[in-house]
């Protein structure tokens, strides 16, 4: 009987050791967005994006505060949060998805599709994003860019400002993952 208990104990311990390095976290991920029009170029950067990947299930999650975006013009930061993205009501943007055909053990660069649900301004959309994944000595670097349509997320732009804001906003991201210790 005692041997059984020891066996179970060892099993649990081993199970724990197996799962711990499966999760990798990026605490200072970067997301930038750009809106290029002939009238005005708008650009903002968020350096405090959180992301986590679970290699056992090839899952990824991203979460960020919308008011952490930094604009060149301070008034634009206020307009963005108050009039467009309404960060009082929807403070965060999130993404939750799966990395398709991802091989965590492969060294070097691989390009993979990430499919999942993107939530901005309280509205969730299914998206597929192409990401470049670089694996160097057990650390992962995810980079890439994609586009979102402003109207998909119910962000209202007054007609008078329609020429100033692009219909599709391009987004670039960069995450450096470290092993996650709770």
């Amino acid at each position: 009987m005692n041997k059984v208990i020891i066996l179970i104990f060892l099993l649990i311990n081993f199970a724990d050791f197996e799962t711990k390095p499966d999760q990798f976290i990026a605490r200072q991920g970067q997301i930038s967005f750009f809106s290029y029009t002939s009238v005005e170029n708008i650009e903002a950067k968020n350096n405090q994006v959180l992301s986590i990947i679970d290699l056992s299930k090839n899952e990824i999650a991203i979460s960020m505060l919308m008011n952490a975006f930094i604009f060149k013009k301070s008034l634009m930061h206020e307009h963005f949060n108050e009039s467009y993205i309404e960060s009082d009501l929807h403070p965060k943007a999130t993404f939750e998805g799966k990395i398709k055909d991802f091989d965590p053990l492969m060294d070097g660069v691989q390009t993979r599709m990430i499919a999942g649900e993107l939530t901005i301004h309280g509205i969730t959309k299914e998206v597929e994003i192409k990401a470049t994944i670089e694996n160097t000595e057990g650390k992962y670097l995810f980079t890439g860019d994609f586009e979102v349509a402003v109207k998909d997320f119910d962000i209202k732009i007054p007609p008078i400002l329609a020429p100033n804001i692009a219909k599709n906003i391009s987004i670039t991201f960069r995450f450096e993952y470290q092993p996650y210790e709770k």
Binding site: F9, I12, I52, L65, I70, K72, S74, S83, L161
Partner: protein, 304 residues
């Protein structure tokens, strides 16, 4: 043996528990990873004026506001044919953010030729994360110089010496954003006039202002303001300042329209010396229009 069974049950429970922790979504894990940085409420009023008086807001460092504030009204029973309105008072002003908390501004009003300068300092910022200060507080101090006599009305101050024509206003602006749509402000005000033409008039006035903003849509809000003077002038009849307005905040331009009874745009002038009450008769009804252009002189915002 019984003990061993207990152990096994205990281990199973432990295993089940650790499994349930693992099956928690990755987003929930991230939720716990947010650093505890303070979150401040933004855009309590958005513009640096609620409508006629100052709000707790100030612009960030390196931002210059170019202001054209206008008031239009008619003269009762006026026989002439002036364009649009019989009388106009315009204040042209520049207001600059020295730091994120301190603003300096200066302007000139055409009616009575009033020159004014002010300093505004944001002392407390309301936190939006339910911690810290529940209110925002801004200190305001201005000085104004009246260069012309107030014909055909009675002059309430002497015009013998330069210092006779000075007045100073101190305000403690206290505001709270209650919901994303609704903000309110209380503005206790102290006004000192350097001289009085009449002995019966006080040189020091106390007033309290109350103002509110309700956001209708992304860029439009309605505002209202009222100033109650505790010890008004005695030599002339004065009325409390009132304004009802619409603010339109768009890109680099902020437009404020108001229906009011105030003709002046400098604090001591409109809070204590408004000679008419609010109604729609000629001479009493004033239409106001503030146009603000926001110029970002310092575009390199510090990366946090």
């Amino acid at each position: 043996m019984k003990n061993n069974v207990h152990f096994i049950i205990y281990f199973f429970i432990l295993m089940g528990f650790s499994n349930s922790v693992k099956s928690q979504g990755l987003l929930d894990t991230l939720e716990k990873e947010y650093p505890d940085t303070p979150q401040y409420e933004i855009a309590t009023f958005k513009a640096t004026r609620i409508s006629i008086g100052h709000s707790i807001e100030n612009r960030k460092k390196g931002v210059l506001e170019i202001k054209a504030m206008n008031r239009f009204w008619n003269i009762p029973n006026f026989e002439g044919q002036r364009f649009v309105a019989d009388k106009i008072n315009a204040r042209l002003a520049l207001e600059y953010g020295i730091s994120d908390r301190l603003t300096f501004g200066s302007g000139v009003s055409t009616l009575d030729g009033i020159f004014d300068g002010f300093l505004k300092y944001k002392l407390l910022r309301q936190r939006s994360d339910k911690k810290g200060s529940p209110i925002s507080m801004t200190l305001f101090q201005n000085g104004s110089y009246r260069s012309r006599r107030n014909r055909p009305f009675t002059d309430i101050n002497r015009f013998e010496d330069f210092t006779d024509q000075l007045a100073f206003t101190s305000q403690v602006l206290i505001a709270r954003k209650f919901t994303p749509q609704f903000s309110m402000q209380l503005s206790p005000t102290y006004i000192h006039r350097s001289s009085s033409s009449f002995d019966e008039d006080p040189n020091n006035h106390f007033a309290i202002g109350i103002g509110g903003r309700y956001k209708l849509g992304g860029h439009v809000s309605i505002v209202s303001e009222y100033y109650y003077v505790l010890n008004p002038l005695k030599s002339i009849d004065t009325y409390d300042a009132f304004a009802l307005g619409v603010n339109w905040e768009l890109s680099d331009v902020m437009l404020q329209f108001q229906l009011t009874n105030t003709r002046g745009m400098v604090e001591d002038n409109f809070i204590t010396q408004t000679p008419n009450n609010f109604n729609f008769k000629d001479g009493n009804f004033v239409f106001g229009f503030n146009a603000t252009f926001v110029l970002h002189l310092n575009q390199k915002r510090k990366q946090k």
